[in-house]
């Protein structure tokens, strides 16, 4: 995470039980102002609701690519 290129977390190859814990661990490890790119094969809107409920005001959410096969979301830490 030291260079300028944001890290890319592709959860298409993460088992269902580990997807959200892996995403939240990655987010929690970010420094203020840092971001990562989440890659998935569907719109991760349930994750966004979970972020809003558990990390309200601490994150930013920007769709970089919205399907139809791949979604990329830049998730940043405020």
């Amino acid at each position: 995470m030291s260079d300028n290129k944001p890290i890319e977390l592709d959860v298409r190859i993460v088992p269902p039980a580990e997807k959200h814990p892996t995403i939240f661990r990655t987010f929690d490890a970010l420094g203020s102002g840092e971001q990562f790119i989440l890659v998935n094969d569907h719109d991760p809107f349930p994750l966004r609701y979970q972020f809003e409920a558990t990390r309200a005001g601490q994150f930013s959410w920007e769709y970089l690519e919205s399907g139809p096969r791949v979604w990329r979301v830049a998730i940043g830490k405020s």
């Binding site: 088992p15 998935n40 609701y49 096969r69 791949v70």
Partner: protein, 303 residues
């Protein structure tokens, strides 16, 4: 980072069809086997979509025909470092540089193997040579992943992952989340190739590629059926179709009816989604089984 699939997922399919299915799955490439290079039809259809060419011996890796085809595909040749035997990495580097091709030396998940590859690469200092890592989450010691990624920084260009695809729900896949996070944090710029953990599983993979794995779950018909159920085992539905299936089943409930959902992950995301999308006080949510492999929740439509 890009995500690709190995030819081993569908060894019988014509290459153009395999590439088409991989594209329809949103994947970025296919890793072929050396034997595929002879298929004349492969070249045109697969141009620009080949993530690598898996070869099994030093002799194959140093055959000029292989190197030329690899250069034409714009894809690296991937060979197990140990299979090179006494071959001189310097001579290989000169051959690959001359032909404008790329050779990746494959190591497993031990520090010794990775160190041997790093030594060979450092010795030649050739841009035509790089490293590849073959990882089996079911049997390898994944705690070494950060150290392996650090040791091969700047050299690692391909990771061959045994699992993924239709195998994500397997016990063998446990720990893949931490591995993927370590790869992400390392800034790995290359390609991850998913491959079946055993040749016997190619059938499942081919079905998965066709998007019809697990008997049509996620199809319109299946979603229609789900609407009439009050029990839903969401584990049999592909992740991408899960939340629409759950919401469809919930919305079909009459007031007072309860939907029991069985998961292979914590159902919090379902709770938060209902909370955000349904009127306040319109549902009741009760957790049942609480992991570590199976979870369940009862959601009751109150009004």
């Amino acid at each position: 980072m890009r995500l690709a699939i190995s030819r081993r997922a569908a060894p019988q399919l014509p290459i153009p069809e395999l590439c088409e299915l991989a594209r329809s799955r949103g994947l970025d490439g296919v890793e072929l086997l050396a034997a595929d290079l002879d298929a004349a039809a492969a070249a045109d259809a697969a141009a620009g979509f080949i993530a690598g060419i898996e070869v099994d011996s030093g002799a194959a890796a140093s055959a000029e025909a292989t190197v030329r085809r690899a250069a034409a595909f714009g894809a690296p040749v991937v060979v197990r470092h140990a299979a090179l035997g006494g071959a001189d990495p310097g001579a290989l580097a000169r051959l690959y540089e001359r032909e404008g091709a790329e050779l990746l030396l494959l190591h497993g998940s031990t520090l010794d193997e990775a160190a041997a590859v790093v030594t060979a690469l450092t010795g030649t200092a050739s841009p035509a040579l790089g490293a590849a890592w073959e990882v089996r989450p079911g049997t390898d010691d994944l705690s070494l992943a950060p150290a392996l990624l650090l040791a091969t920084t700047g050299m690692l260009r391909l990771i061959r992952l045994h699992g993924g695809g239709p195998e994500l729900g397997d016990d063998q896949a446990a720990g893949t989340g931490g591995l993927v996070a370590a790869i992400a944090v390392s800034g790995f710029p290359g390609v991850i190739v998913q491959t079946p953990s055993a040749a016997t599983r190619a059938g499942e993979w081919q079905q998965w590629l066709r998007g019809s794995a697990r008997a049509g779950c996620g199809t319109a018909h299946e979603k229609q059926l789900a609407k009439r159920r009050t029990e839903l085992d969401i584990r049999t539905v592909e992740p991408k179709d899960r939340m629409p299936t759950i919401l469809g089943a919930y919305q079909a409930l009459s007031p007072g009816q309860t939907l029991r959902v069985t998961f292979d992950h914590d159902p919090s995301c379902m709770y938060y989604t209902l909370q955000a999308t349904e009127a306040e006080g319109s549902f009741r949510f009760e957790r049942g089984l609480d992991g570590p492999t199976v979870w369940s929740a009862d959601v009751t439509r109150v009004r």
